[in-house]
């Protein structure tokens, strides 16, 4: 699958809530070949300060449009949030390996469970869309209600959504991984897919191992090149260091060494 660099036209760049933004740009090539779990690498400025591109998961595609959602954290995402529809955005993608999933499950058979932490919902919506027949169960965790994203999108896809918040303002009061434990007492899923903060992924991985369920985890690491050239974004696996940008960002939990 070919990587392309495009000056993509921005269609819209809107605030969702709080620090969360939704951006849509046009790129037929990327839209055509993008897989759930892959990401794009964005150049937010023409100059060299900030220097590096910013990796952002592909949230979805429709026709020749590519959607991302991002959280404004520092310089780069702040500048990204100032972009206007009609402007050009320098994008490289699609990058990395997506989730290993079965697009069609035996109907009536075991569900997949998708576990998202914060902005980690981004790639999981794309995944939920691609999994036909037996729709996955969605577990979303966040600090507080206002930071829970995409519940409507998941429901529109026909997915059941359960929530957990640290402050109990929505769903279970506690961690999404606590929610996962509760759920696993009833359901025996075929596979877990998760994206979110590192500690959360670590816990999901442990739970998966204890319950002998396969889990696919999407990791983050600081990236310089995004295309596997600099060896900067490595994570420790049973086969040594692997590149999150090229060998990942999705890894199966058995590979990873925490």
């Amino acid at each position: 699958m070919k990587i392309v660099q495009v000056k993509a036209k921005i269609i819209s760049n809107k605030k969702l809530s709080g620090h969360y933004w939704h951006l849509e740009f046009v790129s037929g090539e990327i839209a055509k070949s993008a897989l759930p779990g892959q990401f794009v690498d964005l150049r937010v400025i023409n100059g060299f300060e900030p220097l590096l591109r910013r990796p952002i998961s592909i949230h979805g595609v429709s026709g020749d449009k590519v959607k991302i959602i991002y959280e404004v954290l520092g310089k780069g995402t702040q500048i990204l949030s100032t972009k206007k529809g009609g402007q050009a955005l320098d994008v490289i993608g699609p990058l990395g390996n997506g989730f290993a999933y079965k697009p069609t499950l035996k109907s009536g058979g075991a569900k997949n469970i998708l576990i998202a932490g914060g902005i980690g919902v981004a790639p999981l919506v794309f995944l939920a869309e691609k999994i036909k027949t037996v729709k996955p169960l969605i577990l979303i965790g966040a600090r507080t209600k206002g930071q829970i994203l995409c519940t409507q999108e998941f429901k529109a896809l026909g997915c059941k959504v359960e929530l957990a918040t640290d402050d109990g303002s929505a769903g279970l009061k506690g961690r999404v991984t606590d929610l996962l434990k509760n759920v696993l007492e009833q359901v025996k899923p075929s596979r877990l897919f998760s994206c979110g903060p590192h500690p959360m992924l670590k816990t999901v991985s442990q739970i998966a191992l204890e319950n002998k369920i396969k889990a696919q985890l999407s990791l983050e690491e600081h990236m310089a090149c995004g295309i596997g050239a600099c060896l900067g974004c490595v994570v420790l696996t049973k086969s040594g260091y692997q590149r999150v940008c090229k060998d990942g960002p999705v890894f199966s939990n058995e590979e990873l060494i925490w």
Binding site: V4, L52, G228, L231, Y241
Partner: protein, 311 residues
Amino acid sequence: MVKGINPNLSVTIGKLVLKNPVMVASGTFGYAEEFRDLIDLRKLGAIVTKTITIKRRHGNLPPRTCETSSGMLNSIGLENPGIDNFIQKKLPFLKSLGIPIIVSIAAEESPEEFEILIKQLDKINEVSAIELNISCPNQQKDKLISQDAKATFELISAARKLTQKCLIAKLSPNVTSISEIALACASAGSDALALINTLSGMSIDVKKRVPKLGAWAGGLSGPAIRPIAVKMVWDVYNKIKIPIIGMGGIVDTESALEFIIAGSTAVSVGTVNFVNPQASIEIIAGLKQYLVDNNIQNLNNLIGRLKACKD
């Protein structure tokens, strides 16, 4: 407006003839295959590989990169598959490109490792030149070879005996006198000098009070270091007569020209490959245009042509 001339971009480094002076810097271009989808690799003057060691190296603890003001730190730690895997798995694609391939090599423990690596590479026709990385700040050593003129002279003399191939010495800017080291390289028979490797640097996460790199410190690269690199090229150009491959913060034609005018026979494009993979190709076109606009027939007539500044 384009004048009638068709300038000659070709330059010579020792035995090595380049169709244009733009190469890509070691460690910033992987093994080229990573960029195959993004640029026409055959247009490059040459490709310098990631530094190779005898045995596979796993590299340093992550995080391995962090952004700094107009620059970045890296502490990759020379992760590479080792010479045998390199020759089997990486070299074939590089060979297929039909452009000069420069293999960068380094020793982990003793300088003798260089000799073993050189003997192995000397046999391979498609290896056009060998770059001796004696300046990697990420090996957590007390002193780099290129921080010691005597050690540098001895290493390069030994290397020189083992191959007729073009030998390039890559030097560290973390020295009191770059020309002293450059002189040692020249007298030992090095064909060219690669200036500069990264500067030793460190960045701190003040909230956590930890270094931003897993290896604590790393090497600084990018536009931030360009004035330092240009000055070292100029110093060496005025003292030592072997060709210089200039690098350090090159991002576009203008910054590449700074290095050529300061005395670089060729330039190496590094960190910017991560930001704008097209940079090297754009620079090749940009250099040609500059020669046309300034009615300069041959790029060699631009090398080191810095004049005194007056109104």
